[in-house]
C-alpha cells in the first residue's frame, strides 16, 4: 500500500460508506419516482420520463460503485476474506467490496425495474 493511498483512505473514512449508501438511495429514488410517475405518464404519454429516471438513478448507483472500486484499488484489490495480518487493510477491503456489491445489486434492481417500461402501457 503506497503512502498516498493510505493518506487518501484515512482522510475520508466516510468515502468507504459511499458505496453502501448511494446505491441504496438511487434504487429507492427509482422505485418511488417510477411508481409516482405512472399515472402522469398515462395521462401525458411521456414515457421518456420513466426511462430518464431509470438512467439517472442507474448513473447514480454506478457512481457509488465507482467510488467503492477506487477505495478497493487503493488498498490492493484482494478478496477481504483472505485474512490479512494488517487488520485495517482487510477491514477497508471488506467495506470497499461491500460498497461495490451493494451498488451493483442496486444497479441490477434499477435495470430490472426499468424493463417493464418498455413493454407495459402505463394506463392498464
Amino acid at each position: 500500500m503506497s503512502a498516498k493511498a493510505r493518506k487518501g483512505v484515512t482522510r475520508h473514512p466516510l468515502r468507504l460508506w459511499t458505496g453502501w449508501v448511494v446505491g441504496i438511495i438511487a434504487w429507492t429514488l427509482h422505485l418511488i419516482a417510477s411508481y409516482l410517475l405512472v399515472s402522469w405518464v398515462c395521462a401525458t404519454g411521456n414515457y421518456w420520463a420513466l426511462h430518464g429516471v431509470t438512467l439517472a438513478t442507474l448513473a447514480m448507483s454506478v457512481a457509488g460503485g465507482w467510488v467503492a472500486w477506487r477505495q478497493w484499488s487503493e488498498v490492493g484489490r484482494q478478496w477481504p476474506d483472505a485474512g490479512d495480518p494488517q487488520a485495517q487493510t482487510s477491514r477497508i477491503r471488506f467495506m470497499a467490496v461491500g460498497g461495490l456489491m451493494i451498488s451493483g445489486l442496486s444497479a441490477l434492481l434499477i435495470v430490472a425495474e426499468g424493463i417493464p417500461n418498455f413493454f407495459l402501457s402505463a394506463c392498464l
Binding site: 461491500g98 456489491m101 417493464p116 394506463c123 392498464l124
Partner: protein, 636 residues
Amino acid sequence: MTLHKAAEQRDIIDSPEETAHLARTWYSPRGFPGWFTQVNQRMIGKRFIITAFIFFLLAGILGLLMRLQLAAPEQQLLGPELYNQFFTMHGTVMMFFFAIPVMEGVAIYIVPLMVGTRDMAFPRLNAFGYYVYLIGGIVLFGSLLLGMAPNAGWFNYVPLAGKLYSPGYGVDVWTTMITFIEVSALTAAVELIVTILRMRAPGMSLNRMPLFVWAALVMSFMIVFAMPAVIVSSTLLILDRLVDTQFFIVESGGEPLLWQHLFWYFGHPEVYIILVPALGMISTIIITFTGRPIFGYTALVLSVVAIGFVSFGLWVHHMFTTGLPQLGMSFFTAASAMIAIPSGVQIFCWIASLWGAKIRFHTPMLWVLGFFAIFVIGGLTGVMVASIPFDTQVHDTFFVVAHFHYVLIGGAVFPLIGAVYYWWPKIIGRMMNETAGKWSFWLAFIGFNITFFPMHQLGLEGMPRRIYTYADEMGWGDLNMLATIGALVLAVGFGITLVNAIWSVSRGRPAGTNPWNAPTLEWATESPPASYNFRHIPVVESRWPLWDWQRQDERRVVTGLRNDRREVVLTSVLDASPVGVQVLPGPSIWPFASAVAASTGFIGIIFHPIFFVIGFFLVFFSLVAWFWPRRPWRND
C-alpha cells in the same frame, strides 16, 4: 488505564475480593423487587425470550383451536365472531408479540456477550422496552377474555376496521397495542445499534463481527425504518375512530388504500425483520457444528444487508389485487424477484460450508437442516405468488396461509428453536436432553408438513382463508382433517422442547464454559455468565477468537476498568479501537414507573381523551425521576 496496551492474561492476578466487588457492582436485585428494578441486559433478554414463548404458546393454542374447528365441515366449536377474533389474535400475537420480541430478546441476551461487553448502551431504556411490551401483551389477551378482542385480521384493513363496520373497542385495542409493541421494538433497536457500533471488544473490527451480530444490526436498522410507518397508520386510524378525522373514509375524500400502503410498507419488512436474525442464527450454528470457518463471510454479510434493504421495495406485492396500475405493480414484481439473489447467495454459502465438512448432527443442527427443507418450499410458493396472474387466482385462499406458514415457521421458528437448543446451555448453565431434542425435531418437522402442505391443495381448490366453516359438498373435509391431525403432531413436537427446556433447568447435565466448542465470545465466560458477563473484557484478533486462544493458549484482555462502578469500554465504529469508558446506570424502578405511566395514557385514551393529559403528566414526572442526575461527588 491501559486500554491501548492490552495485557496478557497470565500477568493478571484476580484477587477474590476484587471479583466479589465487581459482582456486587453489577448485581441485579432478585426476588420481588427484582421484577421491577432489574436492568442488566441478560435479565431483560431472558424476560423477553420467556415472555415471547408464553405468547407463542397462547397463540399456538388459538391456532390449534382454529384447526379443530376446521377439521370437519359445518362444526360449531367456534362461532363466526369468535373465529374472527381468534385468527386476528393468532396472527397479531404471533407476528408482533412473539416473533419480533423473541428475536430481540435473543439479540439482547446474546449480542453483548458476542461482542464482549458487560451490558448494553442504555440499560434502563432496555427495561422500559420490556415493560411496555409486557403490558401491551397482557392488555391484548385481557381483551380476548373480556370478549372485546380485535377481529379485523392481523393487517386490520380499513374500511372493515373503521368505526362504521367495527364499532366496539376491539380495533382500538389493536391499534393501541400495536403502538406499544412498536415503541418497545424501537427501544430495543436503538439499544442494539449503539451497542453493536460502539461497545465491541477492542479489535473486533467490522469485518470480524460475528454473523449473528451483523444480522442483529441489520434487523435493528430495519426496525428503525419500518416501524414508524405502522405507528403513523395506527395513529391515523385511531384518530378516525376517536375524533372523527377522515383519513380512510372514502365518502369524505379519504383513501383506504393509504392504510394498505402504510401497513405493508411496514408489514413486508416485518417478515424480513423476523427472518434476518434467523439467518444469523443459522450461520452461527453451521460454523460451530462444522467446526471450521464459514465459507464466504463477506458474501453472507452483504447478502444480509441486501435482504434488509431490498425488503423495503416489495410491499406492493401484497396489494396485487387492489386494482393499482399494472406498470406500477411491475416495479415491485421485479424487486420481489431480485431478492432471490441475496437469498440464493446465503443458501449457496451455507451449502459450500457444509460441503465435505465433518458435521456434528446435534439437535441445533437438525433444526437448521429442517429449515433448509421447509424454507425452500416456502420460497418456491413465494415465487409463484409473486406472479400477478397466479396471485390473482390464489389470493385470500389457504394457499397463502400455507405459503406464509412455510416461510414463517420454516424460516424463523425452526432456526429459533435450533438457537434455543444452542444457547440454552449458556443461559441456564445446563444442557438440554439430546434424545428429546431429536424426537421434538422429527415430530415437529413431520407434523408441520402434514399440517401445512395440504393447505396448498385446499387453496388451489378454492378454500378461502378466514372462514369459520365450510359446507360438506365442497369436498374439503379430508384434507382439513389431515391438517388438523398434523397440527396436533406439531404441537406435541414443540411441547417436547418446552418440557425439555424446563426439565433441563434443574436436571440437565452441567454445560461448562463452551460445550459446543464454538468460536465466538459468548462461550468465553461461565455458563450462566456472572453478573458482570466477563471478568476481563477480551481483546479480539480474528473472527474466531476462541479457536485462536485454543491454538495460542493465551489471550489478551483489557485491564484498568474500575470495579466499584459499572464501567464498559467504548470503541470506534470501524476498527473497534478503544476510545473511552462509559459508566452505566444501576437498577431502578423508574423505567417500570414510566412504562406504567405511558400505558395509562395510551390505554385510557381509548375510553376518554382526558387520559392524554393524565398520561402526559405522569410520564413527565417519571422521566424526571428517571433522569435525575447522578451525584458526581459520590462517584457512583
